[in-house]
């Protein structure tokens, strides 16, 4: 009787794991199934002609370029603020364990805040200041949304750096800032790259934070003050259209977005395994 229970649950467990992989395959398959037929040179290189809601011609270049601008900008912003903070946490504050752990805890909490809250707050501030929807607003809001992720991911990479390295550099006379930037960054380079890729993936894929802040447009923005199209919103606005050509743009955008995410995932793995060879083995 013990045997049957064991057999039953073992199969159930295997089934659960297999189910999860199966669902992943199903999702990617269904996206590719509707999206690939919609892909064409025009789709990828033209902006929607006749307006994104009704226009039957053109493609999603506006969203592709817009998303890239947005994601690169916000990731850069998060990096510029986040890297020093993460290094700060792991050098100057190294001794004050309780403080650092509290910061980590709060960052984890912030990571869990839904992006729509960032978007809603961002929108409110924009109204108060009289700002219009723009690329800049999007970069700031998405940058802030992605910041906890960036900091925590770099922090995890830095944490893994054995304490001995920090102590050794201290004794060699490095000042705390020098130590921070030079030694840790080099040792933890793969960790930082992974953090950047992770943040980029989140930044480019999120819709709720850009919904209120970057607006949407048919054109490729030429300045930070203009509204910008993004891939997530391109899908969101065009998916439910009765016009098939418009719907196709949504499907195409879904494929492009999924491919970008898969690429970042693969790159991230490649980086961590390749660079692991260059760091000192402990």
């Amino acid at each position: 009787m013990q045997r049957t229970e064991e057999l039953f649950f073992r199969s159930l467990m295997l089934l659960s794991s297999a189910l999860i992989v199966g669902v992943l395959i199903m999702i990617i398959y269904s996206i590719l199934k509707v999206g690939i037929p919609s892909l064409s040179i025009e789709m990828l290189t033209q902006t929607p002609k006749g307006g994104f809601y009704f226009g039957k011609e053109g493609g999603i270049l506006n969203a592709i370029v817009g998303s890239l601008y947005l994601a690169l900008g916000s990731t850069f912003l998060a990096l510029v603020i986040g890297l020093p903070v993460a290094i700060f946490m792991n050098t100057w504050l190294l001794r004050r364990k309780k403080l650092v752990n509290t910061i980590r805890f709060i960052l984890d909490l912030l990571w869990g805040v839904p992006s729509i809250i960032y978007g809603a707050i961002g929108f409110t501030v924009m109204i108060m200041m009289g700002w219009k929807t723009s690329l800049a607003a999007g970069i700031i809001v998405v940058g802030l949304f992605v910041l906890p992720i960036m900091i925590r991911a770099i922090d995890e990479g830095l944490k893994a750096s054995p304490l001995g390295l920090t102590e050794a550099s201290f004794s060699l006379g490095a000042t705390r800032t020098e130590l921070g930037f030079r030694v840790l960054t080099r040792q933890c380079f793969p960790g930082i790259i992974t953090a950047i890729l992770l943040s980029f993936g989140r930044a480019i894929g999120d819709a709720a934070s850009v919904l209120f802040t970057t607006g949407f447009t048919d054109n490729i923005p030429t300045s930070l003050g203009q509204p910008t199209a993004t891939l997530p919103l391109s899908i969101f606005f065009q998916l439910t259209s009765p016009i098939p050509e418009v719907k196709n743009r949504a499907y195409a955008a879904a494929v492009v977005l999924t491919v970008i995410i898969l690429l970042t995932s693969v790159l991230s793995r490649l980086f961590s395994s390749k660079y692991k060879k260059q760091t000192i083995k402990f």
Binding site: L12, S17, I20, I116, T124, L211, I261
Partner: protein, 282 residues
């Protein structure tokens, strides 16, 4: 650097204060209990009852946990205690990819696969008629989205248990599954519960994917095949109307505040339990 760190430490409070301030206008005329309890949502008449939205959110979240919970527990047990290393090597990237797929893409999958599945196949089995855009659709899509999240936490939880405990039980001549069921699961119970709590907070705040399949009808849902209108969807759909109707912006900020508080509380409580649980073994 230390300035930014300081800001980070205070940020949840800042967000709370900001949302509170913006909701305060609504709270002048209405008590908070009336707002949460009332199911009458007529913005033009100045009536803002949040109950339909809160209930919709609860339903969708509950369904997602009921589906994802057991699957994740079984799969995590499988991967930690029973699977060959070959299997786990496939699973890890699969989990990462699932975690990285953007919300909109899940929404597209929901619209093209889950919604028709419910309207054409599932509902007729129960004698119900539905367009497919329903609480159930939202719950199912959400369940897949929270799987990678919960799974990773559970694997970490199970890995914290020292292998010697497993050895002690096995040495008594107890089979692997019974060891897992009667000893290891018991030991991991607080961790498992918190993993569910974190899953809940993640599910509660998810906006776009659910919005795309849930129907967005302002009514207390009569059943899982009926449409609903979760809290984040309310905010996302109506930000445009915010300024045209008096107190509407305050109401939406109040919705954001309720969302923020619920997500934060579950997040906090769950992480707290996990920290205490992990400290017992380190």
């Amino acid at each position: 650097m230390s300035l930014w760190t300081f800001v980070i430490l205070l940020s949840p409070l800042i967000i709370f204060a900001g949302l509170m301030w913006k909701s305060s206008m609504l709270l002048e005329d209405n008590s908070i209990w009336k707002l949460i309890w009332s199911d009458s949502w007529k913005p033009l008449s100045g009536e803002f009852g949040f109950r339909p939205f809160i209930l919709s959110s609860l339903w969708v979240t509950l369904i997602s946990l009921v589906v994802a919970g057991p699957v994740c527990i079984l799969s995590a047990l499988h991967l930690t205690y029973f699977a060959h290393s070959r299997f786990t090597r496939i699973m890890q990237p699969a989990i990462d990819i699932l975690a990285g797929i953007p919300s909109v893409v899940y929404g597209v999958w929901g619209v093209i696969v889950i919604v028709p599945f419910i309207s054409d196949r599932l509902a007729p089995l129960f004698g119900a008629e539905t367009s497919g855009y329903s609480i159930l659709a939202g719950g199912l899509v959400l369940s897949v989205m929270i799987i990678p999240f919960i799974l990773n936490i559970l694997i970490e939880i199970f890995n914290t248990i020292p292998v010697e405990l497993q050895e002690a039980s096995l040495s008594l001549g107890v089979s692997r599954w019974i060891t897992v069921r009667a000893v290891l699961l018991r030991k991991a119970l607080p961790g498992v519960v918190s993993a569910m709590g974190l899953g809940l907070s993640r599910a509660f705040g998810e906006t776009i994917a659910v919005l795309m399949v849930v129907g967005n009808v302002t009514r207390i849902p009569e059943g899982i095949f009926r449409p609903g209108y979760p809290l984040p969807a309310l905010i996302a759909n109506n930000y445009g109307e915010m300024l045209s109707i008096p107190l509407y912006d305050s109401a939406l900020m109040m919705a954001a505040l309720i969302l923020f508080v619920i997500v934060l509380l579950f997040n906090l409580a769950s992480r707290f339990v996990i920290i205490r649980y992990e400290n017992k073994y380190r």
